[in-house]
Symmetry: C2
Subunit: 203 residues, 2 copies
């Protein structure tokens, strides 16, 4: 029987990215975005790690909808900033989700950081919580460098200023399917597929 | 013989704070600010620690002026931000020295960080470098908490949002002499006095 699984995000970029990844897999689920539940309140992301925040969101949506819920929390960890923006990536410039302001702020903060010390990594924690309360978290990491000027129009967030190790292009210059193949979120969600399959089968 | 010592900062708040501290000590030096040398170029703060940046600045000014130079690098390390803003404190909002923008950004980034996880510390590294190339660095730390709304008109930087441990007032609500007595910069500069005295006597 087809099961409905809720993607606990209002970020349409993420919904599309996750749907592309999950649609490539033979899993008898219907994915719906959180927009299908307009009355759900925002969950405060009070966790101190990507995994904690992903679990907070998935747990809340699973309880409120009585459906299996998937949530991710992801961000960019810059070594010269001791791992920040990290869990604060989406609101780095103070207002949630202003990608342009966030990446411009990061470049301005790092203006004196020399090329040899600009290493960074995208991290993604993906959590799945069933209506019955089973919980799992998996993680994905994409390592690379922060460049000095934005390049590329694909992707979102910090993609225009990040080049993965071994790539001259930014993740905003890669085609979506190229990015999915290596991205932190792609890795985390591919790792989540067998976990979701197992949890759904167990029911 | 009175020796001239250069304070390597263009921040007038710091010059006043350091002069108050050093003037209380019996040391036969004439302190001059960096404004006495209008042609000195800015030193890029490319170090990865407060101590490294303080040394970079003091070394550069000592070499260019052939005088003993003192420099400090200081900032606020917030535990929930893995020690950031840290060495980026003065340009946290992207433009150097915009205190109001910096503290508003920090409050916005921390809006979901609960009261029990808002610990922070002001750090100061103070370096002295003689014209002959002798170098010393000392450090001072003031631990406390980040509050949620700015309070107080004294001080500068992040003072209006920081309460030292054991204090209900922010460092911007303390009188300047109260702040000097406990501050990171006060500690570092008091520790520097005997070091400067020794280096000057050795000449």
């Amino acid at each position: 029987m087809t099961q409905t699984v809720v993607l606990a995000t209002r970020n349409q970029h993420k919904v599309e990215e996750l749907r592309r990844i999950l649609s490539a897999v033979d899993l008898d689920v219907e994915l719906v975005g959180i927009d299908a539940f307009p009355d759900l309140p925002e969950v405060a992301e009070t966790g101190s790690s990507f995994a904690a925040n992903a679990l907070l969101k998935a747990r809340d949506v699973a309880q409120r909808t009585s459906l299996t819920a998937i949530a991710d929390d992801s961000g960019l960890s810059v070594d010269a900033l001791n791992g920040m923006p990290g869990i604060f990536s989406a609101r780095w410039a103070g207002r949630h989700g202003d990608d342009q302001a966030n990446l411009e702020l990061l470049l301005a903060q790092m203006v004196d950081v020399p090329d040899g010390r600009r290493s960074a990594a995208f991290h993604c924690a993906a959590a799945v919580v069933t209506a019955g309360g089973d919980e799992r978290v998996v993680e994905g990491v994409l390592e690379g460098q922060i460049i000095r000027e934005p390049r590329g129009r694909n992707g979102f967030g910090y993609d225009p200023i990040f080049t993965p190790h071994g790539y001259a292009l930014t993740t905003a210059e890669l085609r979506p399917e190229e990015k999915d193949a290596i991205s932190h979120r792609g890795q985390a969600f591919r790792a989540l597929v067998p976990v979701v399959a197992e949890l759904i089968t167990d029911r």
